[in-house]
């Protein structure tokens, strides 16, 4: 399973390295979303800083949808998904590999969006490690759910519109917990202020990774 996961993750990241879709399209989209949020909130820096945590995670969610759609489309051209199935690759390894590749792209996107939030909204982070931990756990959760729901929608003609409809409500706990942890980190709170939300992210990640490992194969066969 781990060998297959490394193989698939390496393949997806190599494809991304060549096509640069995440950097040339998804990242600019996320930055534009942040700028538009800033326009909507007005020139008051205090208001923007207050809303920064939620807006960061909304932008990350939008970018996740695009990254997952790209991950799915890579496998849908020229029957590549059939090729993967025919190779006899372990479905759990395939799921983990694709999730790792999406997570790696999201980490880069979150770093860019984090810088954007600090520069555009004047967000001041008092406890950086809480931000880092929330981003790592949130990224795992988004990649785990996104890869699963991406596979679920992959065989459908309406997958581009169905995926956000399926994924965004499911990812709401990541948005909620990530925002609360960021608020605590920006307010200079103690670690205990974000502990319950970090626990929520850990449970969310574990549950969806387990579901993905078990169900990705059957979903792939029926999609």
């Amino acid at each position: 399973m781990w060998r297959d996961a490394a193989l698939v993750a390496g393949k997806d990241l190599r494809i991304e390295g060549r096509s640069r879709v995440a950097l040339s399209q998804v990242a600019p989209f996320g930055i534009v979303a942040l700028v538009l949020f800033a326009f909507a909130l007005g020139p008051d820096r205090q208001t923007m800083a207050k809303g920064a945590p939620g807006l960061f995670w909304v932008a990350v969610l939008f970018c996740t949808v695009l990254a997952i759609q790209r991950s799915v489309s890579v496998e849908s051209s020229d029957g590549a998904s059939d090729g993967l199935r025919l190779s006899g690759i372990d479905p759990a390894g395939l799921y983990l590999g694709k999730a790792v590749a999406v997570a790696a792209q999201l980490v880069v996107l979150e770093a860019l969006l984090g810088v954007g939030v600090v520069l555009l909204y004047g967000a001041h982070i008092e406890v950086p490690w809480m931000i880092v931990v929330s981003c790592v756990l949130g990224t795992i959760g988004l990649a785990a759910t996104g890869t699963l729901y991406g596979a679920l929608s992959s065989g459908l003609r309406v997958r581009e519109t169905l995926l956000p409809f399926l994924l965004l409500p499911i990812a709401a706990p990541v948005l909620l917990a990530g925002t609360r942890i960021w608020q605590a980190a920006m307010a200079g709170g103690t670690p205990s202020d974000g502990t319950q939300w970090l626990r929520l992210l850990v449970v969310f990640d574990a549950v969806y990774l387990a579901i993905g490992v078990v169900l990705f194969g059957p979903i792939q066969e029926t999609a």
């Binding site: 193989l7 393949k11 494809i15 051209s77 059939d82 993967l84 025919l86 006899g88 066969e221």
Partner: protein, 250 residues
Amino acid sequence: MAPVALPPSAVSLRDAVALSGRFPLLAGVDLEVAVGETVLVEGPNGAGKTSLLRVCAGLVPLASGYLAVLGLDPARNRVGVRRRVGLLSHASHLYDDLTVRENVRFAVRAAGGDVDRIDPALERWGLVGRLAKTSAGKLSAGQRRRVALAVLTARWPEVWLLDEPHAGLDASARLLLDQAVRDAASSGVTVLIASHESGPVEDLAGRAVTVTGGRVTGERDLVSAPSAPNATPVDRGGTDNVTGPVAHVA
């Protein structure tokens, strides 16, 4: 009385029915293919040839009936069957942003194949030099077909399922393909070739079965009568009337 030892079946289908939604892809196929046999599956467009190969590859599940590939049930041992079967289909299964060599390497490693066979396979299909380093997205349809064939020959599975294998290939590649099929057959590989133009591939097969309307409706021996124009109708009386040279003992 001791049972007679029969050669094992590579592919065994009995009253096999496969559906796409409510549309029947296979409507009760009976077919036995012995290990090492090369069989031509002929029939008009839409007859069910491609579906038959996809069922044998374990890509399409049976709605009813019996299927065993190399003695394994693809529904229960999906990975075990797929690792031993190779399908050359209409799609090339390539990633446009990977080079020719990277595509072959990924496919072989994903299938648990021997990476030492990659270079000989690329050479066999003329995919060397700059071509090996070219992105698959820049290749012509015929070149993509060659890459798909390089994957197949690098993997060298025990059962080859070739769907319209000559489609998109130039004359030299067709000759290479014919030679690869002969080499496979001589090494004990079982080959099923689906084609609506039986002429060009008849020399490769020992037997031809005709598929019409999702059923095997005829069969002819290509060794003793290679150019026989009329197929012998197959008795469709039931699952006991299994076609082919191998009597399957339950």
